[in-house]
């Protein structure tokens, strides 16, 4: 059973007013979202925003405190065991067996997902190939580098060829090249028709997604394609200010009520219009003894969008 949205697109995940509290703490505060079949849906937000709690509720690992929804057409409140048959889940913390070899882990999950005997070997080889682990098949999982482990975990989660996969921070702690490879894999699966629901706190990964939801303190603060989000929420200009003392410059600008954020060794300053603020920033910083090496207008990144949205809320 596949639901359709108003435009006739089939829906893989849909929730309304999903809520989860832990005692007094509201981890997920009545969020609603829908994910179309075959798309890569990015769930972005800082640590502790409620990303993992949401994904766990969708996978049937955590009971929602309130709200309704379906995953793969099954009710998240009543049919969590049926949901588990059609999804693949990769948890935030690496959770395969360290003291099993690569192949033993794959065999184990193949058995647990009840992959039919005749398809088992084929699926195993496919996973080893996909994850680039053919050489390491007899290596103890414990000995693998983080990037390899990540790909193995993905492989084990999709052995049974699920319709929807949920990936909770799949790239945290992985080097940039492995991250890029990983996103290529995810892209490939999406092209093949698999729905991918992925959380991340790396804003630069957002551009890999077809659609995004930004979550902050349990609430969704924005939703749309990466392009939409930039256009809709970034009507103002972003200036990259290159200075010698970043923290001091940040404090000075904040003191003067100019919206700034630290990005590595530079500052991103969001302003209403470029011309007037160029002057102002230079003078304000010069007064407090910070040397300005350069000010440049840059296209807003999603991180700028996110910072702006959080300032607003």
């Amino acid at each position: 059973m596949i639901d359709n949205d108003m435009n006739g697109n089939s829906i893989a995940v849909q929730v309304n007013d999903l809520r989860r509290t832990f005692g007094d703490f509201v981890a997920v505060d009545n969020i609603s979202l829908s994910v179309r079949r075959g798309e890569i849906f990015g769930f972005l937000g800082p640590n502790g925003a409620g990303k993992s709690t949401t994904i766990r509720m969708l996978c049937g690992l955590l009971m929602p405190t309130g709200g309704t929804g379906t995953v793969g057409g099954f009710d998240i409140n009543k049919e969590s065991e049926l949901i588990k048959k059609v999804i693949g889940y990769m948890s935030q913390k690496f959770s395969l067996y360290d003291n099993l070899t690569v192949e033993e882990n794959i065999n184990f999950f193949g058995g647990v997902y009840n992959v039919p005997k005749e398809k088992k070997i084929e699926r195993k080889e496919w996973v080893l190939n996909m994850a680039g682990l053919k050489e390491e098949r007899h290596a103890l999982t414990r000995t693998l580098p983080a990037g390899f482990k990540q790909r193995l975990a993905l492989g084990c989660a999709i052995l049974h060829d699920p319709h929807i996969i949920f990936l909770d921070e799949p790239t945290s702690g992985v080097d940039p090249i492995s991250r890029r490879n990983f996103w290529n894999l995810i892209n490939g699966m999406s092209q093949a028709g698999t729905t991918v629901f992925v959380t991340t706190h790396y804003m630069d990964e957002a551009d890999y997604c077809d659609r995004l939801a930004l979550i902050y303190r349990g609430k969704i603060v924005a939703e749309g394609t990466p392009t939409d989000l930039r256009r809709k929420h970034m009507t103002r200009d972003v200036l990259e200010v290159n200075v010698d003392k970043v923290v001091e410059a940040f404090n000075t600008l904040t003191f003067h009520k100019i919206e700034a954020a630290i990005f590595g060794s530079t500052l991103h300053v969001v302003v209403d219009d470029e011309e007037t603020f160029r002057e102002r920033i230079s003078s304000v910083l010069a007064e407090s003894g910070v040397a300005v090496k350069g000010i440049e207008k840059i296209p807003p990144s999603l991180e700028d969008v996110f910072v702006t949205l959080i300032e607003v809320s």
Partner: protein, 369 residues
């Protein structure tokens, strides 16, 4: 239930146990160590209790009396003293645990037919030994007086006791069959208590519960390897008991193994329940140790006789499966009991196993909260 899933879990557990030599060693070395400790080191038999004698009579009759003690084998007379005061240092230092004081005119009064009192001082520090020594000394004294005046009159009632099932009264024969239950309880408690808790601790459970696996599949899959290891450990202890310690095995081996399997299954299910309820490895192993090993050791009748316990404790023992298993083991080993005698114990063991297995299945939640 899918056989394939159970098989996958069982295989994985086996690999993990195999790669963790400590748990495997625990399963096989522990029984051997425990068996040696209890089989050799701890004995409740008393013999050659060091004894000091203060003989005021110094007659041939008094010497014969002392000799009776010595020859019984239970006492070893190793010193003589010449005053009451001189006895104290012997008992104080433990050089002697029993002192025999023979009064003056001992032989004269006996020959005249007057009652004679011999004083036997016993070190009560070890009450078990003291009680037994008291019993033996009374028996020796009675035997002696009967022999001396035996010709004149014989007692009205004479009790002649014969000991059945363990006719040498070897405490080893009584301890080792029960010990098998204790050893099994230890292996069970320590090995399986970690199996579920460890997966929560390491985060692997989160992955596992996101799959369509069913609870009974998971629990059975995890039980099977421990059951096989536990059964191998049981066979090992049974073999050692009979071959190394010469404990007689008079009953049916098939019955012994069958009932052992039921006890093992129940114990493993209980350990599993603790592991599920405990959630962290530390809590789970402590809980398992407290709830299965200690009661099995103290309240099963393995060493401490249940009928001598205070009533409330006796009631508690009915809820301890080891109690039934100890009865079964002692019965099959020493008396050659059959199921006709042991049916109630067997039934209760089975009932316990089934109930605990169901409880473990119910307690397990395929959820994080």
């Amino acid at each position: 239930m899918k056989l394939l899933r159970i098989k996958a879990i069982t295989k994985k557990e086996f690999i993990q146990i195999w790669r963790d030599p400590l748990s495997l060693a625990m399963a096989f070395i522990m029984p051997v160590i425990l068996l040696f400790i209890y089989g050799y080191a701890i004995t409740f038999d008393i013999d050659k209790i060091p004894t000091v004698v203060f003989d005021m009579d110094k007659s041939s009759l008094s010497r014969e009396f002392v000799n009776q003690f010595h020859e019984s084998g239970y006492f070893r007379v190793n010193s003589y003293v010449e005053s009451y005061k001189a006895i104290d240092p012997y008992l104080d230092s433990g050089r002697a645990r029993v002192a025999i004081v023979i009064p003056e005119y001992f032989s004269k009064n006996i020959k005249k037919g007057f009652p004679v009192q011999v004083e036997v001082l016993i070190d009560g520090g070890d009450s078990n030994t003291a009680t037994i020594a008291q019993g033996y000394s009374t028996a020796i004294a009675e035997g002696f007086s009967q022999r001396v005046r035996g010709s004149r009159m014989s007692p009205l009632i004479e009790s002649r006791s014969r000991v059945w099932y363990n006719n040498e009264l070897k405490s080893r024969n009584f301890i080792i069959p029960g010990l098998i239950a204790i050893i099994m309880a230890v292996i069970i408690a320590l090995l399986i208590a970690l199996t579920v808790a460890r997966e929560w601790d390491r985060g692997t459970m989160e992955q596992l519960i996101s799959t369509p696996i069913k609870t009974p599949e998971l629990i059975l899959g995890k039980l099977i390897p421990y059951f096989l290891i536990g059964f191998a450990g049981t066979l090992l202890t049974i073999l050692m008991s009979t071959l190394l310690f010469d404990v007689p095995l008079r009953g049916s081996i098939a019955l012994l193994l069958g009932l052992s399997a039921i006890f093992l299954f129940g114990g493993l299910s209980f350990g599993m329940l603790m592991s599920i309820a405990g959630k962290t490895q530390l809590v789970a192993s402590q809980a398992a140790l407290l709830t299965s090993f200690l009661p099995a050791f103290l309240l099963s009748g393995f060493i401490f006789s249940i009928s001598n316990m205070p009533k409330p404790l006796q009631v508690i023992t009915y809820f301890i499966p080891a109690r039934y298993f100890v009865t079964i083991l002692k019965g099959i080993f020493l008396k050659g009991s059959t199921l006709r005698v042991l049916w109630l114990e067997a039934l209760l063991l089975t009932l316990f196993a089934v109930l605990v297995f169901i409880a473990a299945n119910r307690k397990f939640r395929k959820r994080i909260d």
